[in-house]
Amino acid sequence: MPSDPLTADHVLEFPGGYTRTTGPVIGRFLTELRDGRLMGVRTAEGRTLVPPLEYDPATGEPVTDEWVEVGPAGTVTASAWVHEPRENHPLDRPFAWALIRLDGADTALVHAVDAGSPKALPPGTRVRPVWRAERRGHITDISHFAPEVTKIVSPVSTRYRLTASPSLTRFLEGVRDGVLIGCRCATCEKVYVPYRLTCPECGNPIAGEVTLPDTGTVTTFAINNLPDPRAPEVPFVSAYILLDGADIPLIALVGGVPAHQVRQGMRVRAEWVPAEERTLSMTNIRWFTPTGEPDVEL
């Protein structure tokens, strides 16, 4: 029987880290970084390199000693998303490695961007550095970059105390008791439901109540294919129902029949919830359901 191979973890790490001489160009960049400034160096051809290099990769010539401040904002030119950050990554949550061309620079810098989601970081996204509180002259003096603020959430909430009008209260009392209360305008003879105290046609006050039956005719309707918390299912039918004896339709659900079998002119009746479940609310009528009578000519 072969035995398991011998295995062991090993860390190859010079204690304390290597020291590195920066040279004048990289040293200037890091010194400026420690002061919170982002600097680029000009090449003989006039390009601005960020991060700076000592020798222009295009020509092999030394860069000039002309320095220009760039950024701090920049534009993402490309990015790679890190779904699972490793121990020595700059962020402990998913982030992007991105190429960032700082404003005023001709080359891009690699750094981490805290963007929340890869979708939030298309090429062209504007980002800004997030600096560490204590800087020491290292590229990690910039903790990471973050997208510019382009939108905010603005909560709006107003609390009301609503009091139902006397006429609506009267109507809902009727609905609680299983009765639909309307009214007749003494001037223009029109019968309105729900019960109201003035006539919208002639403006006159309305005095008397009229009790209407819970049967009526569907005048027209929509088949709604978008869900709604007040409707039991999708599709649902919201219909204009002209109660018998009324001159204005109510809008209500039609149920107990497949949506595509509802017709204009169909006779319907209110389906009430059991008396003990009723409240001062139109939800006492579950919906209107076909009576089976012949359709009415509209």
Partner: protein, 382 residues
């Protein structure tokens, strides 16, 4: 009608789903600056600003006119806000025109907008108050039954709505500002989209757009550039719940049209007008408004649509710009109709210009088809 009034500048933003690059202030300013540029003017030349938008609850910015005064150069000037639901863009233009016609001001800047990407319109239109059991699900849910009733009354075949949906999107391809630009738009494409609020299909509805529109109005003596003259203005409204109200062919719309035609000397709108920009947010509202506005006899509107009369090459083009079906920044949609009518009679409508257009109708409606605003503009002085 008072003193003469002219449209001397029109400015629009490109209508789109999300304008993430600008605030509401930046959006309205963009349209305003374009209108001023068209008129060859600056904010200094403006006496008063009138702004319109749909309900505050849409974007949740209360009294937006206060916040937008700076963006519209209104500091130290009269500024007011107009609100008549979906017709507000039209009403805003008419309020601006009334300030010129009354001789109060020489030049008025009129601006309307909606930033639908920041707006919660369907939520704002369906807040479920206690004691109330409204079953209306957004605007489509409200209008679908009235469209169904129109189809029943007139016996119009099902494909009429499709024809309008295609025609207006074809026109939109000629309008660089239009939001929905669908190359190869066809009946098959429209008919393959699902019913949202039957009988309304997805592609028979308007989009949700970010956008603003502005016009500069001027008195006769202050005209710069190429004017469109206002020949008539009218507004009407009616209560949403009233016994005997005809929701398919509302009296308010008929009365408003009769008023504006009388002022402009229009006896037969189909014959006497050259082009019309009409508020058609759901395709079936074209045949419905053809009847309501007297372009066709009652029950005959759909035949006009079917004959191609309202197409860009028809005898009375409707919505050469692509209309509300192609761009819908709600508060601005009415003003866009009014502005497009002005562009047509100024000969400045570009690729969707109707050749030789000299008189045009701009129309807007709102609420439960209960608010109406219209104007007629012409190349010639009235």
């Amino acid at each position: 009608m008072g003193n003469r009034c002219a449209v001397i500048g029109v400015g629009q933003t490109h209508y789109t789903t999300k304008r993430m690059d600008v605030s509401i202030a930046g959006l309205v300013r963009e349209a305003a600056l374009r209108a001023l540029e068209d008129a060859g003017l600056t904010f200094k030349d403006i006496d008063a600003v009138v702004i319109g938008k749909a309900p505050d609850l849409f974007e949740g910015v209360m009294m937006p006119e206060s916040y937008l005064a700076d963006a519209l150069g209104a500091a130290g000037k009269p500024m007011m806000r107009v609100h008549t639901a979906g017709s507000v863009g039209g009403s805003t233009a008419l309020v601006g025109a009334s300030l010129i016609q009354a001789g109060v001001h020489e030049r008025v800047l009129v601006v309307a907008f909606e930033k639908q990407s920041e707006s919660n319109a369907t939520w704002a239109l369906s807040t479920h108050l206690p004691f109330n059991a409204s079953l209306v699900v957004g605007a489509g849910g409200y209008f679908a039954p009235h469209i169904r009733e129109y189809m029943r009354r007139t016996g119009a075949p099902d494909h009429i709505g499709t024809l309008v949906a295609v025609k207006d999107r074809q026109n939109a391809l000629k309008n660089p500002y239009a939001h929905l630009r669908i190359p190869g738009i066809s009946r098959e494409m429209v008919e393959s989209t699902p019913m949202l609020w039957e009988p309304i299909r997805y592609l028979e509805t308007c989009p949700s757009s970010d956008g603003a529109c502005a016009v500069v109005l001027s008195s006769e003596q202050a005209v710069t550039g190429r004017p469109a003259w206002v020949h008539g203005t009218a507004m009407r409204s009616e209560p949403i719940f009233r016994a005997g109200r005809d929701t398919v062919n509302p009296q308010g719309g008929k009365d408003c049209a009769a008023d504006v035609y009388r002022q402009a000397g229009i006896a037969d709108p189909r014959r006497d007008l050259d082009v019309a920009e009409i508020y058609v947010p759901f395709s079936w509202y074209e045949p419905m408004w053809l009847e309501n506005l007297g372009f066709a006899a009652e029950g005959e509107g759909w035949k006009l649509t079917e004959s191609g009369a309202t197409a860009l090459d028809g005898d009375i083009p409707w919505n050469a710009s692509g209309g509300v079906l192609s761009s819908n920044p709600i508060g601005a949609s009415g003003l866009i109709r009014f502005a497009e009518a002005a562009l047509q009679v100024r000969g400045m409508a570009g690729e969707h210009q109707v050749d030789g257009a000299r008189r045009a109708l701009g129309h807007a409606y709102g609420g439960g088809a209960q608010f109406f605003a219209m104007w007629i503009v012409g190349t010639d002085k009235p």
